[in-house]
Amino acid sequence: MTASLIGIAVIDILLFTFLVITAIAIARLRNLFAVVMLAGVFSLLSAALLATLDAVDVAFTEAAVGAGISTVLLLGTLALTGREEKKPRHSPFLPLLVCLVTGAALIYGTLDMPSFGAANNPAQEHLAREYLERTPVETGVPNVVTAILASYRGFDTLGEVLVVFTAAIAVLLLLGASGKRPSAGRRGEE
């Protein structure tokens, strides 16, 4: 038990170190192309971390959506807007102070959290056990995540589809409408 805990801790801390280095590099770099590439790296590393946390479905989705589609969208935007970020004029101390205070408050909040990976966490006690016991009997789907997503919480997924549909229409309206007005420029269509 303790040995496996320490093994997991070593892998996690390694991945965390890479994630933190990537995030700091993103904050410091002003070449936006490099920033976008590092954002893809960040997503891929987080997908690896999610896989070590037993969330294989989420890891797949994060790798496909975060490292794939999101990078493509960001690169498309860069092609239309430009690659260099200008040097910020105001000093970074106030944002830094706000982040430090918020972070300290959040860390103070985690002190009461249940221990990582314990089987008797409150989160593990009620609903999850029900789902795990009832899924093979009621749906026959071996993957419990799929069973919950499609069967037990189908309306959630329907709402998600609605959100994606709305966003797609809004993007089309924002970018497509500019092509019809010659005065607004033709960049949106390219």
Binding site: M1, L5, I6, A9, D12, F16, V20, A23, I26, A27, L32, V35, A39, F42, S43, S46, D54, A55, V56, V58, T61, V65, L73, G76, T77, T81, G82, K86, P88, R89, H90, P95, C99, T102, G103, L106, I107, L111, F116, A119, L127, A128, L132, P136, P142, V144, V145, L149, R153, T157, E160, V164, A167, A170, L174, L175, S178, A184, R187, G188
Partner: protein, 138 residues
């Protein structure tokens, strides 16, 4: 000695939350302090991904396996519910990212820049010009 072991256990049981908080605050810092709108969106993505990892880590059980049912009756499965919620959140997140980037492209078309400082200056100039025009016609 026993106190030290207790402390180590506490740290091993909680360090993951602290790491996620550090990542989250880096994302927040990028979003708040950088003027470039594309970089702000990248910062939001970092923030969002660390919240996802925080949720998933709460469902993990040490010694458990992914919640895909196998024949072994003694198998321990990690909590599938956070996985489902975060799957939905990832897809909604990419939808909002796409919308934000579309807005950035439109802002660039209209104002010719995506730097926050320059946008504020331009907006002030436009307001000033409107006020002068309104005053002159009356």
């Amino acid at each position: 000695m026993s106190e030290l072991v207790l402390d180590l256990e506490f740290i091993v049981g909680h360090y993951n939350y602290w790491m996620f908080v550090i990542l989250m605050m880096t994302g927040l810092y990028v979003t708040v302090s950088r003027g470039n709108l594309v970089k702000k969106i990248v910062g939001l993505n970092i923030f969002q991904t660390s919240v996802f990892m925080l949720y998933i880590s709460m469902g993990k059980i040490i010694g458990g396996t992914a919640p895909i049912l196998i024949d072994d009756p003694d198998a321990v499965y990690s909590n599938p519910l956070p996985h489902v919620l975060i799957l939905t959140a990832i897809v909604v997140g990419i939808a909002t990212t796409a919308l934000g980037l579309a807005l950035v492209v439109r802002i660039r078309e209209t104002y010719g820049t995506i730097e926050e400082d320059e946008l504020l200056v331009l907006e002030h100039e436009m307001e000033f010009a409107e006020a002068v025009q309104g005053g002159g016609s009356r």
